[in-house]
Amino acid sequence: MIRPFKYSKPRFLREALEALEKENTRALAGGSDLLVEMREGKSQPEHIVDVKAIPELSCFSIGKDGITIGGQLSLNELADSKELGQTCPILGDAVRTVATPQVRNRATLVGNLCTASPAADMAPPLFVLNAAVVVASKAGEQRIPIQRFFQGPKKNCLTPGQLVLRVEIPPCSSGRGVFMKKSRVQGHDLATINVAGWANPQDGSLRICIGACGPTPVLLTGSDELYQRAVSRDELLDGLAMLAQDQIAPIDDLRASAAYRRHLVTVFLGRMVRILFPEEGGTSRAS
């Protein structure tokens, strides 16, 4: 049972920020994680600040400068956006794997990030897209790279009085992305592992992020160099697998053993690379 608390739904950002400075106060957007935590007694806030009436959190734009997604946007609002699907299909692919249709009608992208689960399905694509989280406090706005936002299992970098306004994604017109998720059933499930990859032949960058294999999603370092150096797809794949095995730190849990996760990472890196670089042999940087 959820224990009693005080509820407010400010219409101005400043009000919300003030309220959030108080001890034992939590922001409520979709509620799909927070209310479960409260029901299970894992979290017992005294104040809940509903942020769904704050105009600054309702922005949603897709343009030449990139994509901006406000804190109120539900996952299904993203899934239903044809424009987003065309501009950045990798986000749409990831969104549709999160939880159930009902939860996606409530849960927000920002909430998914704020929970900071190592298995968060929206994290890997945002990591490889180089997204940033814009956070407000009474002191002003701050732009935090998503990698820094994730601090540890279920731990983000927010301090009391801070609220995530939006996520900003740089332009992603040049390049190609892939998202993949392995879970125990075809139906809704947390990720056993999830992976996202983004290759940009123009600037020779290859970014790969692996979820559920460490305290936070793991953005592989060294993938650019490999991409630029590799003469064949197989060579790239072998190199990436080695990098990944070196950088991930999966654990045994109810969803899988660490060993199986390690194996899946190699398998899914392979599948991902084959989609990113469909031609046998080369990695087609020239195209």
């Binding site: 959820i2 009693p4 509820y7 479960v36 009902q102």
Partner: protein
């Protein structure tokens, strides 16, 4: 712990009727519907948004009522299974559920119906994959889903006759 539990006045339209009620913040929309309004069609199967037995339509969208606070539904419109039939006339979907054997124990049925209904209102002629997806957040242990999918498909293909 709070010594005095604060109450909040909400005004919610449920099945086209407006209710103004004072509720504590911790009351979920599911509790509000079941305990305050005695609309017990939505069920609690898990309380954590995993089973879909409490699915209702909130401003037209399927949601788990166990994961919505009643205060969040202030000024919103809610549809529950009790509001689907009009003047004793079942919806096409309700009729299809009966005719296709889509109902067994019935505990998941209300939620199933509303998930499917929200799909059909958004997309009157969904394909099979879309139908499967639409009810994928509604667990059923009795039917194995097939007759439920067939009932929805019959409506989607216009095989169920109107009126």
């Amino acid at each position: 712990m709070l010594h005095e539990i604060p109450l909040y006045t909400i005004s919610v339209e449920v099945n086209e009727r407006t209710y103004t009620e004072k509720v504590p913040a911790q009351m979920t929309l599911l509790q509000f519907l079941r305990e305050r309004l005695c609309l017990t069609g939505a069920k609690e199967g898990c309380g954590v948004g995993e089973c879909g037995a409490c699915t209702v339509l909130l401003n037209g969208k399927a949601v788990d009522a166990c994961l919505v606070l009643a205060v969040e539904a202030d000024q919103a419109s809610v549809r529950t299974v009790e509001g689907e039939a009009r003047d004793g006339e079942l919806t096409l979907l309700q009729r299809a559920f009966i005719e296709h054997g889509a109902v067994q124990c019935g505990f998941c049925t209300s939620g199933m119906l509303l998930s499917a209904q929200s799909l059909l209102e958004k997309n009157p002629h969904p394909d099979q994959e879309e139908i499967v997806e639409a009810i994928s957040g509604n667990l059923c242990r009795c039917t194995g889903y097939v007759q439920i999918l067939e009932a929805i498909e019959a409506v989607a293909l216009g095989r169920e006759e109107g009126g």
